[in-house]
Amino acid sequence: MANFRLCPDSGLFFDRNAESLMKVNAVAAAVSLLVAGLLALGVALTRWPAVHLLPAEQFYMFLTAHGLNALIFWIIFFEIAILYFASSTLLRCRLAAPRWAWLGFALMLIGAITTNVAIFQGNSSVMMTSYVPMQAAPHFYLGLILFAVGALIGCFVFFGTLVVAKNERTYEGSIPLVTFGAMTAAIIAVFTIASGAIILIPTFLWSIGYIGYIDPEMYRVIWWGMGHSSQQINVAAHVSVWYLVAGLVFGARPMSEKVSRFAFLLYIFFLQLASAHHILVDPGISSEWKIFNTSYAMYLAVLASMVHGLTVPGSMEVAQRLKGYNHGLFEWLRKAPWSNPVFSSTFISIIIFGFIGGITGVVMGTEQINLIIHNTIYVPAHFHATVAVGTTLTFMGLTYYLIPVLFRRQMILPGLARWQPYLFGAGMTALILFMMGAGTMGVARRSADMTFAGAALTYEYPGMAFTMMGLAGIGAVLAVIGGGAYLLVTVGSLVFGKKLDPSAGFLQSFGVPLSRGAYTAQPEILPMAAPVEEYGSAGHFEAPGTFALALVLLISFVVYYFINWKYLASVWPLS
């Protein structure tokens, strides 16, 4: 049956069902990002002290919706698209159980809409964490449960597709590294969703009166099994996309498949245990539990991230050096395609994720120095480095690649697309650094008014904290403009971009398959996609520039880590 399409530009295969599902998930993700971005503007302009845009009630409503749309809906819709891409496309096979996949998508869509409706009705401003005993409307929880069930179905469709590919022998040897990384994300997603079910189903029953009491500490521990692990899905997914981009842009293969796979294995074993750092100051939980989960176990996951941080740019460097860019330590980097947004997004993401997201993550995961910044605005600074730059910017870069390849449309406004990663990256970096500064001075997160006007108990922050929050606001506005540019280019391209296939019409951009003639039963295999579709290492390890960058990261980490210990000693005098 004619169900496969071969992209003549990339050499990638697309199964008809998988292609439509990737498109609808990517479009739903983009809509969620649009909502999240608009709400981000309201949040940022309220936290900017000189502007202070929204009254408290609206601020908390905006913040709740921003958190869920940005951290859950945008990311997981896009990740389901990645799972289908990494299984069906990279393994060149049909998607398993496409009807189930459509059911999963429908549940996710209904869930996301239901939860958003609950929030905007105004009685569910409980933040993304929805800590009990704060109670949201029942359909707030119901929407999240439906979304989670839909995502779980998507994960099992992915696992089913791995089985299909193996049984039908569509690949030789082992699955490609990108698929293995996506599998890591899917495994983490299963634990994440299971944790969500364990806590959100009773909370839903509590909200409709069937259960009388939910222990707040029990809620916090189990909820963070979902809340933080959902962000670990992102880490595994965006690291997989880094390897994918290295292969697609540079033709690079991993420096060592075995080492990279072992790093993903460390993620499978240990990454989810990092959820415990949210519980570090909670009473009733022993230091043994806290230290085992956040230090011993989490450091092994950090080790894995450091391996990926070395091997992804390292594989790019090896590929560049094989092309002759051998002069000095960094000619390979200088001559990299900086005007290609697929690459620039990825590289900015690697740098900010490693240097800021990674280092702050370790600081927050250390029981003692966590005390300095716990529940301050430093925490959103950390996860904007990991998720908003690490994951979101990576996914933005991948979208630029997919517009011609998956959607068969030429990208519009290439000049704007060229600048967009820099604009978004610079705005986000400013936001992150100034929020880190303000958080170190104690500025609370999730607070509508840092002046505490009218409050019974007040606290006066240093003047510099107000300046930092103002500068963070400017960074946020730049980042929102960068995010808007991304949506303008991508959605505009789907609607107005030149058709690269005669049947790639308006509806085809939003999930309707191309005409029957675009698909064949058994397309020929083109060599361009081989680096991402096959198992195998580059076999070269000459990456001195990357090793130099890794040393800079290590020194930065050591210096910043000990500065925090020194700072802890100064804010916590014991003598």
Binding site: F159, I187, V190, A194, M218, V221, S229, R261, Q272, I285
Partner: protein, 55 residues
Amino acid sequence: MADPGNNPKDEEERIPAMQSLLENPFLLLFIGVAMPTVFYIIWGIMEIVTVPITP
């Protein structure tokens, strides 16, 4: 009958344990769910339920 364990071809085709683990998505799924369930969820719940209740 030849002993299959002494066949040099079998020796060559024996898949290393680590590779067997990495190529079994469902075993990895089990480990990836079991590890955090035991060390994070179950251990964490045990800590909470053993907190003495104020008389």
